[in-house]
Subunit: 348 residues, 2 copies
């Protein structure tokens, strides 16, 4: 089969690899129907995250079950399945409270499991899925091709945006501000809208992203950043601040803005992996602004979000603005790196 390996910054290659096979009774083999490139893949691509050695990259995919291990109970050959960006057993204490991203038996695509056995990356033709029962979520029927982008978005960005909104405690009628207009931030807007927020402010200065933000439910757009952006939110909320803030970037500036624009008693739901962030604890304490969030337990939200996609209630696939065959994977990375694309889909 063909699969993608990242060798160094700006060096991703689609290469021939051995076809994966069932290694453990809890495995499933999945033929990838669509995969995509994540903003977090770009950390390696840009050299922002060190790369100890080449690895098989990609953690978002949907596909068809080809084969199951002898212990797999909930899946069948031919099922269309959505994979979350981490695998998990869905039975350990952390999974049972809904934090499958901290599963004690789980792990990352492309990385080693607890026994040192490597999982495949998602940007390839086939994937051996560990802990298949606890990881994959199937649809009842094979979905129409038009549904693929929105189902694929559930692998990561939509579940992550949803987690930001859950962590921020978005309630019906709230005024919500979303910091970050990448695919996750846009998904956070869609999540807040689906949760019944009344006013949703997108902080975005890119025209195309502003358009998607509005189609996802944003009622207001603030193009300013930093102190000017904070002042604009304060004015827009009559001096009170936002009822809930979704932080979907992970930089020091974006987190500072998120905390400053939260009203007393509000929570900042953060899903942008923190890079150089220092939390201003005295400011948080004096105004009772909490922070909650982290690595999104996408698996928790998948069944409900799958139903929302299939019913047409949400259409998160609009974040994909570039559709490439898998052998153009390098172009997908380059387009996202150069901000020519919000998010690139790859079809084997």
């Amino acid at each position: 089969m063909k699969a993608t390996t990242i060798y160094a910054a700006r060096d991703v290659r689609l290469e021939n690899q051995p076809d994966p096979t069932i290694q453990k009774p809890t495995d499933a083999l999945v033929k990838v129907v669509a995969a995509c490139v994540c903003g977090s893949d770009l950390w390696y691509y840009r050299g922002d995250n060190p790369l100890a050695e080449p690895f098989r990259i990609g953690h978002e995919f949907v596909g068809i079950v080809q084969e199951i291990g002898s212990a797999v109970r909930s899946l069948h050959k031919g099922d269309f399945v959505i994979a979350p960006f981490m695998y998990s057993d869905n039975t350990c204490p952390n999974c049972r409270v809904g934090i499958q991203s901290a599963c004690s038996a789980g792990g990352f695509w492309g990385g080693p499991d607890r026994d040192g056995l490597l999982a495949d990356g998602g940007q390839g033709e086939y994937v051996r899925v560990p802990l298949a029962d606890g990881t994959l979520v199937a649809t009842r029927e094979t979905p129409d091709d038009a549904m693929i982008p929105s189902l694929l978005a559930l692998s990561d960005v939509m579940g992550t945006g949803w987690h930001a909104a859950m962590a921020a405690g978005v309630q019906e009628g709230d005024t919500v501000v979303v910091v970050g207009d990448g695919a996750v931030g846009l998904s956070g807007i869609l999540a807040a809208s689906r949760m019944g927020a009344e006013r949703i402010v997108a902080m975005s200065r890119h025209e195309q992203r502003q358009r998607i933000a509005r189609s996802f439910g944003a009622t207001d757009v603030i193009a300013e950043r930093g102190e000017a952006g904070e002042a604009a939110i304060v004015e827009l909320t009559g001096g009170v601040g936002a009822d809930a803030v979704l932080e979907c970037v992970g930089t020091s500036q974006s987190m500072t803005t998120a905390i400053e624009i939260a009203r007393p008693g509000a929570t900042v739901g953060y899903v942008g992996v923190p890079h150089g962030v220092e939390l201003p604890v005295r400011s948080m304490f004096s105004r009772n602004v909490g922070v909650a969030g982290g690595v999104a337990p996408v698996r928790q939200y998948l069944p409900a979000l799958r139903d929302d996609v299939l019913s047409g209630a949400i259409n998160p696939g609009l974040v994909f603005d570039l559709d490439l065959p898998l052998d153009k994977v390098a172009e997908g990375y380059a387009a996202m790196d150069e901000r020519r694309a919000i998010k690139a889909m790859l079809r084997p």
Copy 2:
């Protein structure tokens, strides 16, 4: 009247002061029945907080309404009232969402209001209460003398411990760890117990405080601190961590412990004013451990906690282990400073 002024570290004096009078139509005059010394008063007493100039100290008191301004509607002369540790109008947007400690018209006892008019401190014979309708909570009848300590505890420590438990999201059946065995930490144990926590772990190495902790509902006591304490909690929870953690100290070590012992997805409710705390954002993010809390909006909780005290459901007054006449106020500070007392009550 007599009232307490702090002049410098270790220099508190009860002195004659002019009797307060109604200054604004929203004021009430209260004759203090009982007041007390707070752990946060000790920051000034110990020189940990700088003292720009002498000020009238004390922010916890209960008393009898002597006189009301012309605009006061909910109180009458003769009412027994409980004062929260800050005054508030209870009508501004921050108050309406329950964060009266961020009231846009509110302030601190002993400090200036928005017009520069000084409020009295609580450690005196009389107090002019600004924004009396929004601040004071009355009992239906004048309570028995035996109820006074528990009602006085609602001024600050019990409401603050309750806030820690609310911020941590304590649920029925939870395993809760309380970091800190001062009056607030002990009150946090009582709050968690009242909220139905199944297992409550007190981190305490003082025998007398352990006794109160157990009488308030602690099921386990851990005497170790730092890494040894964290290891003990991990073992006690079967490697999972606590469902909710109450941080009631405010030091770097106590906050680190609180975050490390929280299970993935849990929240640390913190009410210890942070001194030198740096939040470990990467650890929080990787395990989805949130932090929430801050200056407790005691006013929000006062009506329900008053009813709980009067019905006998809770008895937070057990935190008082020293009962002094007001003219021994300096001894109250010294006893708490030297850890001879958990909390000193003062009776004019």
